[in-house]
């Protein structure tokens, strides 16, 4: 009996809030469940694949898909390269200074998203924000950070990159600590300089960490939600409405639970397919 008592509570919770919701979502996505149906189950109607067809017909869904794809294409390389570069520099520096600075780089990762939105809102404020005041003081024009569609994309993307690097830097640092120093000493004796050692030995040895960071970063961008939700509410004119935000708005703002569930399952399928492709590519590379 003992093992079941040990694993019981956690497994029960994982099933209740991980597995069951998927099944519920699948079921609800075939109905027209909304706020009225929530109060009176008799008013829920089975609509078959109607919600999915409606989804495919909704230009706002395709727009959200395009916005999300844009963030993935630009954001994934930005986060992977930036966090690897900082981790390499921190590792190279070593010592007490690097340990202290590590905390500074991690700071954004532990800040609550609401606090982030207020602080960045203040920083990017067009009347008295530090960012525009700085631009003006060096003779540049102020920027409509959150009010023009193009700049709003840049701003929420920037905040997301700023926030995501901390954890990935730590993951790369942990991987760097696992590289045997003998490898680098041997290369140094053979006359390889610091740059060559980094590019030819260290970065290839970080392959697994790089893969892990890439795959989680792709998933995170596909689920991109927090920054646009708190900074722009998806605006202006839907420029920063990601798929997740679109689903949330349909579900909790419009109370179209059935329709939103169809959207969330489409997102789940998308994430599963993208992750599967990445795993396949990685396996093929390992075989070579």
């Amino acid at each position: 009996m003992a093992p079941y008592l040990f694993v019981g509570p956690a497994v029960l919770l994982l099933v209740a809030f991980g597995v069951v919701p998927i099944l519920v979502a699948a079921g609800v996505s075939l109905t027209d469940l909304n706020i009225r149906g929530l109060g009176d189950p008799d008013r829920i109607e089975f609509v078959g694949l109607g919600n999915y067809l409606k989804l495919a017909d909704d230009p706002a869904f395709w727009s959200a898909l395009k916005v999300t794809a844009g963030f993935v294409v630009v954001g994934v390389p930005a986060i992977v390269v930036l966090s690897m570069a900082v981790a390499l520099l921190l590792h190279q520096s070593g010592g007490r200074l690097a340990r202290v600075l590590r905390s500074f780089y991690f700071m954004p990762a532990i800040m609550a998203v609401v606090a982030i939105s207020l602080v960045w809102g203040y920083l990017l404020n067009t009347q008295f924000g530090l960012a525009n005041h700085f631009l003006e003081s060096i003779g540049l024009d102020p920027i409509p950070w959150l009010s023009s569609p193009g700049w709003a994309k840049v701003s929420v993307g920037l905040v997301a990159v700023w926030r995501a690097t901390g954890l990935n830097i730590i993951i790369f640092l942990a991987a760097l600590q696992g590289i045997p120093p003998e490898y680098l000493e041997a290369a140094a004796i053979d006359g390889a300089n610091a740059w060559q050692r980094t590019v030819r030995i260290v970065i290839p040895l970080l392959r697994f960490a790089t893969f892990f960071v890439t795959i989680t970063t792709v998933i995170n961008w596909l689920q991109f939600f927090d920054e646009p939700y708190v900074l722009t509410q998806g605006g202006p004119a839907g420029a920063t409405t990601s798929i997740s935000l679109y689903i949330f708005q349909q579900g909790f703002r419009q109370n179209q639970f059935g329709f939103a569930s169809a959207g969330s399952l489409a997102l789940f399928a998308l994430i599963a397919v993208v992750t599967f492709i990445q795993l396949r590519v990685r396996r093929r590379q390992d075989d070579d």
Binding site: P21, I22, V113, F248
Partner: protein
């Protein structure tokens, strides 16, 4: 390798790191200093982020005029509940690591599979489930969906698999029952992984925003993050009180992180990400 070239390189590396750290942490310091600026000063464009005059008026207002005392209490209750979840994950990891039983492979696979499910997929059904259980509008309802996670279970299992069986058997021979073995042998040995998971649990539950926002109906159930979101419309009027509220949320987390940061890096090393 203390040649002139490598010393020059080191100085360059440190300089780049310092610049990057300053830029990364700028929003944090902007927040802390604006929190103690008089509102008039905080609303004046200036490159000087340091306050000319320091006031704690807004910090006082949060707890006096506004209900931040209640929000803080609720947040701490959520954190406490989430530590119960930490114990569940530890027990779960132990069960999977050290026992052979029917259905083990399936259940562990199930636990891992939940990691791949995006929050937005489970959001609406979870709300419907909590609604059915009459847990919407309660602190338990806020904490429950995030109580255990597949990743935490996985890390605990990985760590506990390395505990030697002889250690457990010795305790059993001394007459300890299974709970005693877990409580007095396994948990103390697992301190490193408990530290990592404890810190991550603390940060996650303290900062959680979406569930408290969706589930809480009354102001008396609001957490710090929801209370802070209510200050959103103050930006043009009083950024100082916004920054004070943000600082109340961020500074305690920062202290916890700085105290435990070595454990966090070690935790990731242990979890096998180095290979």
């Amino acid at each position: 390798m203390t040649t002139k070239g490598s010393r020059g390189l080191k100085a360059l590396v440190n300089l780049a790191l310092l610049g990057g750290a300053a830029l990364t942490s700028l929003p944090f310091f902007l927040m802390v200093f604006a929190a103690v600026k008089p509102a008039q000063e905080a609303m004046t464009a200036s490159l000087n982020i340091l306050p000319k005059r320091v006031t704690f008026q807004y910090l006082g207002e949060l707890f006096g005029k506004l209900d931040f005392g209640v929000y803080l209490r609720n947040t701490m209750i959520i954190v406490l509940i989430s530590f119960l979840g930490l114990m569940f994950m530890a027990a779960d990891g132990y069960g999977f690591a050290k026992f052979r039983f029917k259905g083990r492979g399936v259940l562990f696979g199930l636990a891992l599979a939940t990691m791949m499910i995006p929050a937005q997929v489970t959001m609406i059904p979870t709300y419907l489930i909590l609604n059915r259980l009459h847990l919407t509008g309660t602190l338990v309802g806020i904490a429950l969906p995030g109580l255990v996670g597949g990743f935490g279970v996985f890390l605990f299992r990985q760590f506990m698999a390395t505990i030697p069986d002889e250690l457990l058997d010795a305790a059993r021979m001394d007459g300890a029952d299974e709970w005693r073995v877990f409580w007095s042998v396994v948990l103390p040995v697992s301190r490193p992984i408990l530290a990592v998971q404890g810190v991550l649990t603390f940060i996650g539950s303290w900062n959680s925003f979406l569930w408290p926002l969706v589930i809480a109906n009354n102001q008396s159930d609001y957490t710090l993050s929801v209370g802070l979101a209510l200050l959103n419309d103050q930006v043009a009027v009083n950024p100082s009180i916004q920054m004070s509220g943000a600082a109340v949320m961020v500074v305690p987390i920062l202290v916890v992180f700085v105290v435990f940061q070595r454990h966090i890096v070690q935790g990731f090393v242990m979890s096998g990400l180095k290979s």
